[in-house]
Symmetry: D3
Subunit: 145 residues, 6 copies
Amino acid sequence: MIRITRKYRFSASHRLHAAALADEQNRELYGKCDNPYGHGHNYEIAVSARGPLDPRSGRILDPALLDRLVEAHVLRPFDHRNLNEEIPEFRNSVPTTENLAAEIFRRLETHWKSAFPGNGPSLEKVSIAETPRNIFEVWQIHGQA
Amino acid sequence: MIRITRKYRFSASHRLHAAALADEQNRELYGKCDNPYGHGHNYEIAVSARGPLDPRSGRILDPALLDRLVEAHVLRPFDHRNLNEEIPEFRNSVPTTENLAAEIFRRLETHWKSAFPGNGPSLEKVSIAETPRNIFEVWQIHGQA
Amino acid sequence: MIRITRKYRFSASHRLHAAALADEQNRELYGKCDNPYGHGHNYEIAVSARGPLDPRSGRILDPALLDRLVEAHVLRPFDHRNLNEEIPEFRNSVPTTENLAAEIFRRLETHWKSAFPGNGPSLEKVSIAETPRNIFEVWQIHGQA
Amino acid sequence: MIRITRKYRFSASHRLHAAALADEQNRELYGKCDNPYGHGHNYEIAVSARGPLDPRSGRILDPALLDRLVEAHVLRPFDHRNLNEEIPEFRNSVPTTENLAAEIFRRLETHWKSAFPGNGPSLEKVSIAETPRNIFEVWQIHGQA
Amino acid sequence: MIRITRKYRFSASHRLHAAALADEQNRELYGKCDNPYGHGHNYEIAVSARGPLDPRSGRILDPALLDRLVEAHVLRPFDHRNLNEEIPEFRNSVPTTENLAAEIFRRLETHWKSAFPGNGPSLEKVSIAETPRNIFEVWQIHGQA
Amino acid sequence: MIRITRKYRFSASHRLHAAALADEQNRELYGKCDNPYGHGHNYEIAVSARGPLDPRSGRILDPALLDRLVEAHVLRPFDHRNLNEEIPEFRNSVPTTENLAAEIFRRLETHWKSAFPGNGPSLEKVSIAETPRNIFEVWQIHGQA
């Protein structure tokens, strides 16, 4: 078995603030990330897939197809955006990097089979670095991380 | 002569939009950076100073003093902020990275002499990476870059 | 399930020399790392935890708590130290990076439950890069690496 | 259990072209990687081994032995080479990075026991970055990745 | 004055071999880089321009224009190419990274004024990293490096 | 004119302590770097030379010659060493990174002409990163930095 990981970048702004909590609780929970005017990051995501090697092509997937999938469902909607205001899923949940990683995994998983039909590669993990020193990984429950 | 460069990071959000221009001109000029909800970056700044070597300490400056200067005048006001809304200088100018670099240089230059009095080190350059592939440098007119 | 990894740095010196072995055996085993005057490194550690997502906060742990734990039990005792002379555990064992990684894991594990009580996140892995090209990982026997 | 990972670099050229396919299929499959004159990369490989800690040395393997193994069976034959023309295995298979990673794993596995006899460390994974954004991992079927 | 630097990558293969020299001299001069089958690299180039700040836009140049210039005159002709076979200038000169940097500088300089007419930014420097540890810079004779 | 920069690494330990000063002054001046047991770093040095392009070889210097010079006069004496105890120059001066950079520059300059005789390349700058965020540069008084 072989795993491929491809990395992508986007830049976005967000504010960490839970609507269900009082302002003071938000400040205690999120510190300066609760700043009402928001702040932002260069996010680096890494998408990992694993699969059998196609003996004809010597590859486990066509990287152009993966790039197109990530471009359509992640980069276009998230790059140069305000996550709180422009991503519908973050109207009801806080755009922490944990939730952001889970949302990106969900979007890729939803569209995976139409991009890679048949017994091809499977989506294994989405990793996202909010800064170079703060990294989050989400993976399939039955998969391996 | 010896130069010291120390690097620091902060995260902020901004929107590129010139008040004097029509919306369409802004969109043409700044592209997706004109998104009305803003976006953000992890900025990495590098502050360079040059000076004579103090023979007693074997240093050109006390790095703790430089850290304190940058902390007080750059990191505290800029980190986890919205540059358009929270930095007074960007009420009248667009927070491009060029303007941001110039503003950081100006702030450090203004407070330099009180941090490093006498014939000590001189501020030489401020460099700022908006992303790892997009870097801006500002330096003193009579200095060397 | 989601994993968070946060990175930290410290600088320290060490000498690789096993008291139970003859000098010549030490030289053969450790090469230039056996130099009696010692040498040093910038160590970069990465601490990984996994856990359920708290639906209220959208996080698996409060990063400020993890930072405080690592600061108290790793950075403060190890940073700018001589590992052989100043870390009691290395009086009887050689401060190889394997042993250093295991010792850091042990210290974090010992204090984990008081920092993260209840059914919170669990410590999963400690990784340490002695140089950018030489990396060691230690993890829980029943966990996944 | 502890894992060690050591990184190495080599530079090589290759062309992606499957002999069994028509030219047009090759162009569609491999895009600009099918350029008949070839192109090249700086490959960065990471070799991971896991094993019990030797209580005497405080290590899981002698890094000099691993370096010698990788030097002899990977760096010397692959560095500054044309993979299609100079690596016999790629006369009949396409030197995709998947196949390259598998071939490196196979070579290290073949010679592992003579380098590390007895109950020592086991080869766990070979990872190879074709570019900093495009990474492939190969590991033992019964091992963990 | 402000300097902007933008980074780009391409992958190519080359062989270092001077037609005017005997084979043995070539081997002595270029070592393994003289391998007749060639080898390759991931080249990272950095293009630096300096200029006055446009007070209206807050920028020294439109980054989209620079990207287009580099795409047309550097990335498209050089990426995934064999420098000896596919770049006419290297039919008569050896594609060392020095010559490659000079050729890229020449191409950008030739087309600079049509991309940035008037008193706009001036091309200042082209830097190229053949590997992360081997970097070459070319700049204008009357400029500053 | 073209500049070449090549990077090298070594690991060493040091203690910052000026013999002429009282213990308390040392503690105030150097903070935790004054720890009597010492600490250490992975130092990354970058050596820059500039020179005319040799039209025959297409290079400004033979990189193997530069590597040999740096190996003999910097890496061999400094790598895996205690700078205070094993480098004679630091018996009378404090091994700050400023002094270390100046000493490396001096050593390379002393031996430059025997490595590169005639009108060849000239040594321009030595840069040394004590950590990735703390960088020092030393250059020739009449040269350009």
